[in-house]
Symmetry: C2
Subunit: 253 residues, 2 copies
């Protein structure tokens, strides 16, 4: 009997944004590993088991799931959003590479999901309308000066920048420093979108200018999209404003 | 009677990757505008109408759809992948901003989808496992030197780079130039993934090293992911290799 491991993206949290492929993968697995809020989202049968863990234990969780799968079980690791974007797919690959040979022989299926920046962008217009990048502000696994280098490189080359993992209790100052770094390159008039829980009842979308962006406007579930100098806001009276980046671009001055 | 416009992401082409939200939005619309291969994917009822156009007519298509919606109809604009990533959402916003006031009063709904780089990444491992960016190689709407600037900035700062619109009959040389630019910064040992039709029966996934990457390995439907110096290939004998970028990163030398 050979086990299998599915790494499943559950999307941003709205049931209607979970793909049929992801729902089917959930139906087929017996053991579910993940960060508690994601595992709690699943509606499971009596013969399916949840194994939740804290959000800074990705590698330990990946190893535990792989060990269960090599015993012959059908195992799922679940992530919010997409499992390949600052989530569990990389942690599982790391565990496979450094783990026992048997882990390499497992059937691995990775099921993509709607990642936060796409969900947030869709609620506000098309801020990712041309070249963009995604940067995690977590300095748990990389030095802060590398993050700052990337922010400066991205803004300098005219990319729109989506910021993941912007702030948490143990990382309170990073987002403020990121806004400072970006402000060294970009004018204060660049639009910034703060999006949380896109598509869920507790959705919160806020648009401001970079000069007015404050770390307090975000929490750990917020995805922030910082526009380029070409990003625009369309005011529409009663209707919510649209924020978008035109498809055409010119070289930054 | 007020019209409405939905901009719907149909995902990479596998029916199981179309979200329930997108399927519902398709059910509710009467007129469907889009690039022919995407519109052809829809299973429509007799009371629903397709209006297909060529793939370089985004702005004209957006205007036509908006004009139909202000007449009071329920209109959909469909994109493959996600509508906010090098697709129709930005074109519709451009049309709204420069169009008649009535277009600003429309109800606009944007439905996100699985974009190509997420689908390709999921089929091969976790190449987007840390900071990454997405760059369109089309120089129809931006100068080539800007694209080259972005490629160099991204590679220099250690981003993984996903390349959209890599090549076409009218843009035959851009991808080769992009590989040259990236090779000026990155070692030839960096893994490159060519992915087409991820999750479909005609799927083609190819992994090589940057030194061996050739433009002929791509067509206009390919999404290419160029790793960073930290991206790794796990060989697994009989099983397909996994390509991933570890979550931890150090400053590029």
């Amino acid at each position: 009997m050979t086990g299998r491991l599915a790494i499943i993206g559950l999307g941003p949290g709205n049931e209607a944004q979970v793909t049929p492929e992801a729902s089917r993968a959930v139906e087929q697995a017996a053991f579910f590993y993940g960060y508690k809020p994601y595992v709690d989202r699943l509606e499971l049968r009596h013969d399916q088991t949840r194994i939740s863990s804290d959000n800074r234990e990705e590698l330990a969780r990946a190893k535990e799931a792989l060990a269960k799968a090599v015993e012959g079980h059908s195992v799922a690791v679940v992530s919010g959003g997409d499992p390949g974007v600052f989530a569990m797919a990389a942690a599982v690959c790391e565990a496979i590479e450094s783990g026992p040979e048997a882990w390499k022989a497992l059937d691995i299926e990775i099921v993509p999901g709607i990642t936060a920046m796409l969900a947030v962008a869709a609620r506000i217009g098309a801020p990712l309308g041309h070249d963009f990048c995604a940067i995690s502000l977590s300095d748990n696994l990389k030095p802060w000066d590398l993050i700052e280098l990337r922010l400066l490189a991205a803004a300098g080359a005219g990319f729109v920048v989506a910021l993941y993992n912007p702030i948490s209790k143990s990382r309170p100052w990073q987002l403020g420093r990121a806004f400072e770094a970006l402000s060294a390159i970009l004018p204060g008039t660049v639009p910034v979108v703060f999006g949380s829980a896109a598509g869920r009842p507790d959705e919160r979308m806020e648009v401001c200018l970079l000069a007015d962006a404050k770390p307090e406007m975000a929490d750990m579930a917020t995805c922030i999209i910082v526009g380029s100098t070409e990003t625009r806001i369309i005011r529409r009276g009663e209707k919510p404003a649209l924020v978008y980046t035109p498809r055409a671009a010119t070289r930054p001055k």
